[in-house]
């Protein structure tokens, strides 16, 4: 499967996505905009709290082409962060002690040739490092098989997508063979202590629905995941993060093609939770794009909605301006406020 960009698909253009999010498929506007919904719960404009996390997307290149990917990542994507931009991130992190967490994402971040150097530098800065590892990269090629040891050496927290504990649902979303490869990678991580009690090596999994429906409760799903993965594959992990699919990029394409777009948006709007709106991750996280530009979150990054202040690039990082900015919101943001809410760390309400 090719990325939307390689297909020259209309949805590869962020403006086309934003138009659908504003006006629907047939030009009819959404029943109530996210801005108005926030205003109803006295949450508009949305302002940052204490920014403690830098989520850095170091490239759109990936060994997988998942059907729901909001990045439109894949083997045909060549956009990756340069060592120069990474150095600019390191400079900012050195100068701002309050930025204690660095969340590295992609694509498959490990495919960036400077990935290991970057993690080593972050470790020297004594930052908490999270890597969003798609698991299959570990077993994709010999040059990646030592990744678990590399992660352990640098005390990296590994966060990995496993959309379901059964093969069919996982492979339908992430591609044939992904479930089996993911299980092998999880077993390798377990073997060196990841996900094991008392090891201090954190291995968290991410669930996201494989279709046009919302996730159910995180606690119950985590219990099911732990039972099934332990019984069938002797796999242990720490926490399950339950994430809602955002109606953008490839998932938006799926919603439109399957005739589920309108009902999915209705579900998100109907499930709006003001408590989740108060805790959305864009209030404490800043997102850095592969080219160094700053965004309120990884989703805004893919929609090319830069932060609403003059400090728009990592090389001109201005803490004060960023703290005082208004967070950019559009209708896709309903995905983070539905039900128990959604963030890269799971539910938020």
């Amino acid at each position: 499967m090719k990325s939307l960009k390689a297909q020259h698909h209309s949805l590869a253009d962020a403006r086309a996505q934003l138009a659908i999010l504003a006006y629907g498929q047939d030009g009819s506007t959404i029943p109530i905009s996210f801005r108005d919904k926030l205003a109803q719960s006295q949450s508009y404009p949305l302002k940052p709290g204490q920014i403690d996390t830098l989520q850095i997307n170091i490239g759109k290149m990936c060994n997988q082409t998942c059907k729901h990917c909001h990045v439109d990542a894949g083997p045909d994507r060549k956009e990756i962060m340069t060592a120069e931009t990474m150095q600019q991130c390191l400079d900012v992190l050195r100068q701002h002690e309050q930025l204690t967490v660095v969340d590295i994402t992609g694509g498959a971040p490990e495919m960036n040739p400077n990935f290991r150097w970057f993690v080593e530098q972050l470790t020297r800065l004594d930052k908490q490092v999270i890597v969003r590892c798609n698991l299959t990269i570990i077993v994709a090629n010999k040059k990646y098989t030592d990744l678990p040891d590399f992660y352990r050496k640098h005390r990296v927290e590994v966060v990995s997508s496993l959309p379901f504990y059964a093969q069919d649902r996982t492979d339908r979303q992430r591609g044939d063979g992904v479930f089996d490869a993911s299980i092998r990678a999880l077993q390798l991580l377990n073997r060196i202590g990841y996900g094991k009690e008392g090891s201090g090596l954190k291995l968290n999994l991410v669930y996201n629905p494989s279709g046009a429906f919302l996730p159910s409760g995180q606690t119950a799903l985590e219990k099911s995941y732990k039972e099934v993965l332990r019984q069938r594959f002797s796999i242990e992990f720490n926490e399950l993060f339950v994430i809602t699919n955002m109606p953008i990029s490839r998932f938006l394409d799926y919603l439109l093609m399957s005739g589920n777009y309108e009902s999915y948006m209705e579900k998100l709007i109907h499930a709006y939770n003001p408590a989740a709106a108060a805790n959305v991750m864009c209030r404490n996280t800043l997102s850095v794009g592969w080219d160094g530009y700053l965004y309120d979150c990884d989703f805004n990054q893919m929609l090319e909605l830069k932060v609403n202040c003059e400090s728009q690039h990592i090389r001109e990082f201005n803490d004060q301006m960023l703290k005082e900015r208004e967070i950019v919101v559009e209708n896709h943001c309903y995905g983070c406020t539905a039900g128990s809410g959604s963030s890269c760390g799971g539910t938020i309400a």
Binding site: F164, Y165, A166, P209, F213, P215, S216, A220, S224
Partner: protein, 111 residues
Amino acid sequence: MSEHYYDEKDLAKFGNIGEFQKELGDRFFAYYGEVFKDSELSAREKSLIALAVAHAVQCPYCIDAYSTDAYEKGWSEAQMMEAVHVAAAIRGGASLVHGVQMMNKVKKIAM
């Protein structure tokens, strides 16, 4: 009036039942909410039971709601279909077991 007796959009209006009789509507939904909470049975298990019952009573609204709910709660397609077969078996069995009544009657009147 809608053109059909059943309109899928009406499912979302279920909560308006209290419009004509608020007190009973409120009591029903409070009860309904309690029934589906985690308790001796988990909310996940109750969802699958609800799916089977929805088929037994042939309620299109309930089938719509609990097909989504059960799938969201992690039941597989095969597990959900097995639950529907349980409903079908009970319904079929309920008819067939009355065959005993028929046999009793025939045996009584036959020479």
